[in-house]
Every structure is written in structure tokens, then in C-alpha cells.
């Protein structure tokens, strides 16, 4: 047992689980995995020229699911050249109305194979099946459907600006929403007539590779979408490649800054969707029960592996005690464990490395004097797990109030006036999202005007829709994904 786990255990209160559930595991029979997956280049799965492969596991069981190719510089070069050829020969000349039809096909096939994708997403990434089934898959399909509709309407979106494709987009995505992020990247790029080389995250390549199969079945012209697996180095080769016209990256602010430096002076277009330290702000007039659900969802959705997670809770002083009590009660009902169980609320932490990072930051929180609360719950013996965690007595200077933990850990602070709430919420280098809980509509709009965040949720949290632009202020990145605004980063425009 690690030190932090000991501390956690000592902090447990004597609360019994509120409800008992029978096991309700989703069957994995629907997923048929190959022992080994090559790189998806030019419409085919090919062995890597690098000659190296790596294992991808289930973070809930630590079992190996498959081997995937580790793309080296030659592989990246082949993928980029293939994408370039597909762009020149065919894709950028195809009328938008016909590009649209391929995207509609992909959307429909994702809908048809939704359960298979959801189960695989949960197996490879550790997120609860109810989330991959009810959030990731419907949204991924919706994203393709939405951008399909734009493919032949770009002149309406950008009147008098002669929209035309940039060329080849290199896209690097994270492990928290593997398929959904692939959809966010591929759909607008293809709708606008670009070809892509996509690199999924090292720990979660499998749904992207299943998407490659869907793309084959949709008869998308070969080379329009190329999917190369690998670790950070593969991503670096892609970013550095001379013949890539645009880089779209979703991931940590640290890596985002490295990419910004790397492409400096190259003329490459760039969009970055990076980290966050969002404040969920609860006023004294907030509907408390609804706020509790929103706060819980805001930080524990997807184990807190969410760039826009509401990882700071700012509570107006008069309701601090009742809200905290309700949060503790609610925490006790969360079920942590097998992500394939349909009743699981919090699944596995995505990787051992991420678990260590969470443990370090939580230890720092305890060391710096914040007060930790964790519910009693039994964690599975194998796999990577972390209890849902609340911190009170948090000050603005604590690391747990400043740094992105990317885990199921909520830091609770208080405020007195709306102006103070704004001041505290904006006191971060990040600016991806924020939440407001109050019954007063005028206050919602007053707050929204002052919060330096790309998305503001009012009396809700973690809502996503393909029609709704998403992206950050400040060090949370630049560019927007979703909506009409999500087309612009993939277009050359006049004016």
C-alpha cells in the first residue's frame, strides 16, 4: 500500500454503502479483437517500417488486449505522403455534396456498431460503460452527422471568403475520449476537404483502429484518413513533418507549448485544446440538489479525466456546510469498480502513469494542509483505481487548486460576493470552462460575461454537442471545435 493510500484509508468515515447492487456486467462478446494491428495508411493496415510494436492493455485488469504498431519517422512520412496524394488526386476536388455522403455513411455505421465501439472503448480506456454507451458513442456519431451537413454549405458559413481546404492535417488526440476526440478531429477536417493523419493516444488506440475499419467499409477514398499509432515521439515526428499544413492537438498544456515552439516559423496552422482548472461556482440561491448532481458529474465524469472538468468548487459561504454534507452523502453512493458494469459510476484510471500523477498531487494537497475526504469503498485488486476525493480548507495557492489533476479529485473553496467568485474563478492560467449555479438568470449572464472561459455552463455541466463550439481562453489553448466555428481552423479563407 502506498503512503497516500494509507492516508486515504485513515481518512475514511464510517459510512456504509447506501444501496447494494447485483453485478451487471456488459458482455464483451461483441468485440472481436485482432492479436495485432498495423498502421492504417492508404486505406490498408500495413506493418510498420519501424518493425516495433507495443502492447495495449485494459487499465481495469492490466490484461493485454492487442499489440499495435509503433510508428517511426519513416512510417509517419509514408502516412503524410499518402495523405498528400489523396488530397491532390481526389479529395480536395470532390464536390462537398459528395464528401458529405461519406461522412453520413461513417455516422450511420457508428450508430449501427455503437455497442461494439462502446464496449471496446471501455475495455481499452477504463471509462464506465454507461458513459461510453450514452455519451461517447452518440456524440461521436452526431459529430460526423453534423459536419457532413456542412461539407456542401461552406459558402454560407463563410460568405465572400472563398473557403478552400488547407491540405494535410496532422491530428493528435488524448486518451480520455479516444473515439470522440477522433470524431472531433476527423469530421470537420474531412467536411472542409482536407486529408488527415491522426495519431491516437498511446494507451487508447483500439477504437481509432476500429474506426479505420468503418472508414474502409464506407469506401472512403484510400489515404483520406490515415491512422498511425505510437507514443509521444510519433506525435513529434508528425508535428515536425515538413509536408503537414496544419496541426490540431488536444492534450496537456505542457505538450501544447512544446508543439507551439516546434511549429514556430514553419507557417503551419495550429489549434490547441489543452488543460483546464474549471471553477464550478455555487451561489447561496442555487438549487442545491441539482447543484450537487452537477458538481459530482463535473468532477467525477470519466474519472475526472476531462480537460473541462469542474475541478474547483467555489461555494458561497452561507451554503458551504449544507452543500458539503450533500456532496459527502452523494459521494457515498458512487460505485467505483469494473467499468464494464452498467452500474459503475467511476471506472479505472487510464494508466499507471496517470494514477501516480494523481497520487502525487493528492499527497501534496494533504501535505500543504488541505483536508481530504474519501468515501469508504472497496477497490479491485488489479488495475488502476482512485477513490473519489474531496478537499476542503483549500487555499488559492495550494497545488491542488492550481494544477490540473486530471483525476477524481475536487478542491472546494469559498467566496462571499459575485465579484470575489469571478476573481477566484479567473485566478488560473487556464480558461477552458466554468459552471454557475444560481436561480437568478440575470446573475448567470453577469457572471458569464466576466468569466474568462471558452465554455460556461449554467445550472448544468459537461454538456457537449456538435453544434456547440468548444475551446479555451489563455493557456487552455486556441481555436474552437464544434459548430460553425469549428470549420474555420481547417479552411483557407479570403478576407
Amino acid at each position: 500500500m502506498t503512503d497516500i493510500a494509507k492516508k486515504a484509508t485513515s481518512a475514511l468515515e464510517e459510512r456504509e454503502p447506501v444501496w447494494q447492487y447485483a453485478d451487471a456486467p456488459e458482455s464483451t462478446d461483441i468485440v472481436r479483437l485482432e492479436p495485432r494491428y498495423g498502421l492504417f495508411i492508404g486505406g490498408e493496415f500495413v506493418d510498420p517500417k519501424s518493425g516495433t510494436w507495443f502492447e495495449t492493455i485494459s487499465p481495469a485488469t492490466e490484461e493485454t488486449l492487442a499489440e499495435v504498431a509503433d510508428a517511426g519517422p519513416e512510417d509517419v512520412d509514408l502516412a503524410v505522403r499518402t495523405a498528400r496524394k489523396a488530397s491532390k488526386d481526389r479529395w480536395r476536388k470532390l464536390p462537398g455534396s459528395q464528401r458529405a455522403k461519406y461522412l453520413y455513411r461513417i455516422a450511420r455505421q457508428l450508430q449501427e456498431r455503437a455497442r461494439e465501439f462502446a464496449v471496446l472503448e471501455t475495455m481499452n480506456g477504463g471509462k464506465p460503460i454507461k458513459e461510453s454507451r450514452d455519451v461517447d458513442l452518440p456524440l461521436a456519431a452526431a459529430h460526423f452527422f453534423y459536419y457532413a451537413g456542412w461539407a456542401d454549405k461552406l459558402d454560407y458559413a463563410f460568405p465572400n471568403r472563398s473557403p478552400r481546404p488547407i491540405g494535410v492535417a496532422g491530428q493528435i488526440i488524448p486518451w480520455n475520449f479516444p473515439l470522440l476526440m477522433a470524431a472531433w478531429k476527423i469530421a470537420p477536417a474531412l467536411a472542409t476537404g482536407n486529408t488527415v493523419v491522426l495519431k491516437p493516444a498511446e494507451t487508447t488506440p483500439l477504437t481509432a483502429l476500429l474506426l479505420a475499419q468503418v472508414i474502409q467499409e464506407a469506401d472512403l477514398p484510400p489515404g483520406v484518413v490515415n491512422i498511425i499509432t505510437g507514443a509521444g515521439e510519433t506525435g513529434a515526428y508528425l508535428v515536425e513533418h515538413d509536408d503537414v499544413d496544419k496541426i490540431a492537438f488536444t492534450g496537456s498544456t505542457e505538450v501544447g507549448k512544446v508543439i507551439r515552439r516546434t511549429v514556430a516559423g514553419s507557417g503551419k496552422r495550429l489549434t490547441l485544446e489543452l488543460g483546464g482548472k474549471a471553477a464550478n461556482i455555487a451561489f447561496e440561491d442555487a438549487p442545491l440538489d441539482q447543484a450537487v448532481e452537477g458538481v459530482i458529474n463535473g468532477i467525477f465524469f470519466n474519472q475526472g479525466h476531462v480537460c473541462c472538468a469542474g475541478s474547483r468548487l467555489l461555494v458561497q459561504e452561507p451554503v458551504f456546510e449544507p452543500l458539503l454534507e450533500k456532496l459527502k452523502d452523494r459521494l457515498q453512493t458512487l460505485r467505483v469498480g469494473n467499468p464494464l458494469d452498467k452500474n459503475t459510476d467511476i471506472g479505472a484510471i487510464n494508466s499507471r502513469a496517470q494514477l501516480s500523477k494523481i497520487e502525487d498531487l493528492v499527497a501534496a494537497g494533504v501535505d500543504e494542509g488541505a483536508e481530504m475526504y474519501q468515501p469508504a469503498c472497496v477497490l479491485p485488486e488489479r488495475g488502476f483505481w482512485f477513490r473519489p476525493t474531496l478537499f476542503t480548507n483549500v487555499s488559492q495557492s495550494h497545488r491542488i487548486a492550481r494544477e490540473e489533476i486530471f483525476g477524481p479529485v475536487l478542491s472546494i473553496l469559498t467566496f462571499r460576493t459575485p465579484a470575489e467568485a469571478v476573481e477566484k474563478a479567473n485566478n488560473t492560467p487556464y480558461g477552458l470552462s466554468a459552471g454557475i449555479w444560481t436561480e437568478k438568470g440575470s446573475r448567470i449572464l453577469w457572471m458569464a460575461e466576466r468569466l474568462k472561459a471558452g465554455v460556461v455552463w449554467a445550472n448544468t455541466f459537461n454538456r457537449f454537442d456538435p453544434a456547440s463550439p468548444f475551446g479555451g481562453y489563455k493557456e487552455s489553448g486556441f481555436g474552437r471545435e464544434g459548430g460553425l466555428h469549428g470549420l474555420e481552423p481547417y479552411l483557407e479563407l479570403d478576407g
Partner: protein
Amino acid sequence: MTTKQRVPVRRTAKLFVAGEFPRSESGRSYEVFAQDGRLLARAARASRKDLRDAVRAARAAHPGWASKTAYNRGQILYRVAELMEGRRSQFEAELADAGARDPRRGVDASIDRWVWYAGWADKIGQLLGSTNPVAGPYFNFTIPEPTGVVGIVGPPAQALLGLVSRLAPAIVSGNAAVVLASEPTPLPAVSLAEVLATSDVPGGVVNILTGLTEELVPWLAGHMDVNAIDVTGVPPADLAEAERLSAENVKRVVRARDVEPFSDEAQSPYEVTALMEFKTVWHPMGE
């Protein structure tokens, strides 16, 4: 029995009202001929009562259709395209009978037009709604909403494409429609009704009447529970009277622009907003 001996089964061409296929309550029908003079069918000849039933069905269906998410309506329109693709040979045969020079092209364009308008479902508000920077502490925004029940007089030219080009932009935003099929060439509209009936479009959202245009248009134009009328298929001589009749409840009157029906110019998001209302909301902002 050899194929030669087999007697084909003919279709009865019926009305399409509230998701069902009634004959005219009047018991009347009229003859439909092919371009070469063959008798193709006896289509139902809708009465004033049938028209009222169709308007009632449209009014009842409108709230549910309008309250579906835009994404859902988009998928349903796309599904119409999917099903038309599967029945294209039937449409092509009907267009050939109706005298189309290139039936295949007509069906291609009709299917693609459904797909094109399907895409607008969740984009029209983004493109043509607005936030308005009023000079005061108010959040002020404008959103387009469907106007309600739309009457559509189907144009006799391009029996299928002409109709789809008017119907798709009318319903994609959440309106319900009462369509008068082209009088001389109603059969593609009857087949379209059969596609709509099996394509997740809720019953009553589209109602299609066949019959005599001259007889039906005044009843449609004068109906007090129809919010807008598309007069594209109204004969020029009857247009002024239709517009006069529309005054009683201040119907919005629209008609297709005079453009090549196969061209991209024949489709426009402004065809969608022509049958929408703009609603502006004021809300105070303050601590």
C-alpha cells in the same frame, strides 16, 4: 404459371393524411394519364373536407415535430433520402411516365436535395440567429422558429424534384405541411407519401392530397389555420385570388425563385427561413 401468365397487381393511389392512406371522403377520383396517353391510375380527388382533415392533422403534428431536436429532424430527413434511394426504380418509372427527359437525374437530384436540407436542421439557427448588442445591461438574442402549418401547392413541372424542393425546406425547421400534389402528375407524390410513411417522419407532419388544383387552392389559401402558403404550383391566372384569400389570417406567401431546378441555386437556407418566424428575447444581466 409462367411470368407471361402472371397478372401484375396495380396500386391504388390514395391520399396521405395523418400518417394514413384514406381514399377521398367524397368517393371521387380523377384519371391520371401518362405522357403517351396511357391511363396510369385513378387518383383520389380530395374534397374540401379532406383538406380540412389534412390541416387538422398537420396542426396536431406540428408541436411534436417542432420540439424534436434539430439533430433528430436532420436524421429523419436523411432517412427519407435513404429510403428513396432504395425505391429509385419506382420513382424513375413514374417520372418516365410523367414525361421526364432524364428520370434518373430527377431522382438523383431529389434524393440529394433531401440530404442537403437535412444538413440545415441544426445549422440554420447558427447561421441566421443572432445575439444583438443592445445599449444596456441586457442579453438579447434572436432565434428562428417554424411558423406552424404550411400549405404547399406542388409545381406541375418536375413532379418529384419540384415537390421535394418545396417540401424539404418547409419541414426541416419543424413546420408541418399540407401538400397539393401536381394535378396532371400526382403519382411521384403518392410514392413519396409511401416513403414518408415508413421513414420516421411522424404521421401528420406531411399530408399529401391529390385532386384538382383549381378546386383545392382557394380552400387552402383561405383556411384560417394555415400559417403560410407556398404558391409555386398555383397557375398564374389564379395567383392573385390565392393571395387575396391568404389575407384573412395574414398568411406568409412564398414561391420558388425562377431558377434551373437542378442547379444549386434551386436550394437555399433562405427557403427555410422564409417559412420561419424570428423571435427576440431580452434578459437582464446583473449581480
